[in-house]
Each structure stands twice: as structure tokens, then as C-alpha cells.
Amino acid sequence: MEKHTSQHRKGGHAPTQADAQRVTVFQVMSREVICLKPEASVESLRATLVENGISGAPVVDDGGKVVGIVSITDVVRDQHERGETMEESEEVRLQSKGGVTYSPGPGFRVIDAGATVADVMSRKVITIRENTSLAQASEMMARSHVHRLPVVSEAGKVVGLVSSLDILGWVAGLS
């Protein structure tokens, strides 16, 4: 009887579920990771996401250590809450130099120039190590409803990023 083993059969690869448990994130992660600083503005965050075609990024301190994570859903939620969309924004009262107060009409959108990445990011970050398996990484993403996991060194510094798209790419290459 012919023996079929995934490693030794020429010209093909019969994938098994065990592959996801054997392959580590090191093999699929991105090594060039766009990170943001906590003091960056939400506007620059939005522009960074759009310009780079990404949907989220780790937030790091000056030492490169992960302090938070931010995603496109945080941007949209913030946009909606601050009334940057054309829907009714919060009742705002403005005061002129002469002491006259007035409420801006619906044509005015108050954009809080002070909003930073620190204001919208999630401080609860799930990070993984290079030797985490794809199966484990998928489980963590599914359980925590996240789409990216920063890969960190022992010192907590970002060394890579695994996103659901990377896992998708791996599955695509399988069968």
C-alpha cells in the first residue's frame, strides 16, 4: 500500500489540520510593522490607515513596547461619537469674545482637535510570541474578536504582526 505523508510526497502536499498546530506565526507574520505613538492625532491615525491600506496598528511607547492597539473600528466609533459624521453632533455651545453664547447650527461639525490615539486605543492588548502556532493564534483572534495580534519579544517589543489576512494567505496556499 502506498504510503502518503505530507512531507515526502513529490509535487504535492496533503494538508492536515495538524499543520496549523505545527506552523508558527514566525513563518507568516509581517516583519515591517506600522506602529503609532499614543500622542498622535486621530486624524493622522486615519490617514495612516488609509494610506497604508491597513485596518489597525499597535501603539508603542518610545522604547518600542506595546502600550495599546488601535483599529479602524475605533476610528469609526470615535467619528460617530464626536459627531464628525453629518448626523446630529453633541449640543455644543460656543462663546464669542464679546461674551455672547450661541449654539452652532447643523451645518457646523465640531472636530475636537485634541483627540489622540491614546483616547481611542484599546489598552487591553493580546500579544503573542514568535513560536505561537497558527492554530493558537487563530483561536485567540476568534475568541477575543480581534483581527491582529502583535508579535513581541521577551522584552515586550514589537517584532512582527499577524493579521487575519496573513492566516487567510496561509490557508490559501494550503489546498
Binding site: P15, T16, Q17, A20, R46, A47, L49, V50, G53, S55, I72, T73, V75, V76, R77, Q79, H80, E84, T85, M86, E87, L134, A135, S138, E139, M141, A142, R143, H145, H147, S164, L165, I167, L168, G169, V171, A172, L174, S175
Partner: protein, 146 residues
């Protein structure tokens, strides 16, 4: 007033990327990878029967499913929220935020016009703001020259 159909018009990808419900997860993943999309429309006999996203692939892998043995219909989202082509980007953003959706099909009558993603909406806001600023700058320099 900007509508979702306007946002769709602004997308580079004009085609509808679809998949049969009986296709494997591996095929779905390949299609998504090749077209660089995060979700596929599952179409059966010309009808939209489900939405297949990267989320579903990750969940399936987490549950120990085999990419070649599992079919799209085993994991796709069947209760699909769609928006009408005349809805506004803001309405769409509210829906996506409240329902935790990242991709939403755009419908007009019986036809599916395309898929709008959260990324498309954010990109649209950034572009619209840039356009507004550009118009304002032109207005300001014109006024100064008057």
C-alpha cells in the same frame, strides 16, 4: 448628499467577487487572497445566500476545521445585513459599528451592486475631507485676490 452608491463608484475594484456555497474554505481563501478582499458573496443559483469573510476562515481554523474538507456553506454568515444603495455612509457606519460588521453588501431592488467595507467608508471620509479642504483653499485664495 453623498450616498453609498457614490462610495461604491469610488472603489477601484468594480467586480463582484462571488463564490459557490459548495466551494471549500481553501478556495474561498485563495479567491480572497488573489482579489485582495476580506469578504465574498456566496451566490447560489443567482441568489445571495451568504457572506463569507476572513473572520469565518479564522474561526474555522480555530475550531480545527480542514481547509479542503470544509465548505463555504458550513461556515458562511447566512443572516446577512445589507444596505440600500441610497443609504448614506453615516447610516452604514452606524450599522457596522452597532452590529460589529466589517463588510456589508449593497442592494438595489433585487440586484447586489457590490460590497462596502469599513475601510472603504473611512477612506471615503478622508478623501471627502481632502476634497473639501481643497475647495476651501481655492475659495480662500480666490477671495484674497478679489
Amino acid at each position: 448628499m453623498r450616498r453609498i452608491r457614490d462610495v461604491l463608484d469610488g472603489k477601484t475594484l468594480k467586480q463582484l467577487i462571488t463564490i459557490e456555497p459548495t466551494a471549500s474554505l481553501g478556495e474561498a481563501a485563495r479567491l480572497m487572497s488573489v482579489w485582495n478582499v476580506g469578504a465574498l458573496l456566496a451566490i447560489d443559483d443567482g441568489k445571495l445566500v451568504g457572506l463569507m469573510g476572513e473572520r469565518e476562515i479564522v474561526r474555522a481554523l480555530a475550531a480545527g476545521a480542514s481547509a479542503s474538507m470544509t465548505r463555504v456553506e458550513d461556515v458562511m454568515v447566512r443572516d446577512v445585513r445589507a444596505v440600500g444603495a441610497d443609504s448614506t455612509p453615516e447610516e452604514c457606519m452606524v450599522l457596522m459599528t452597532q452590529q460589529r460588521l466589517r463588510h456589508v453588501p449593497v442592494i438595489e431592488g433585487d440586484a447586489v451592486l457590490g460590497i462596502i467595507s469599513l475601510g472603504d467608508l473611512v477612506k471615503d471620509v478622508v478623501n471627502e475631507q481632502a476634497y473639501t479642504i481643497e475647495q476651501l483653499e481655492r475659495y480662500i485664495s480666490r477671495a484674497a485676490n478679489a
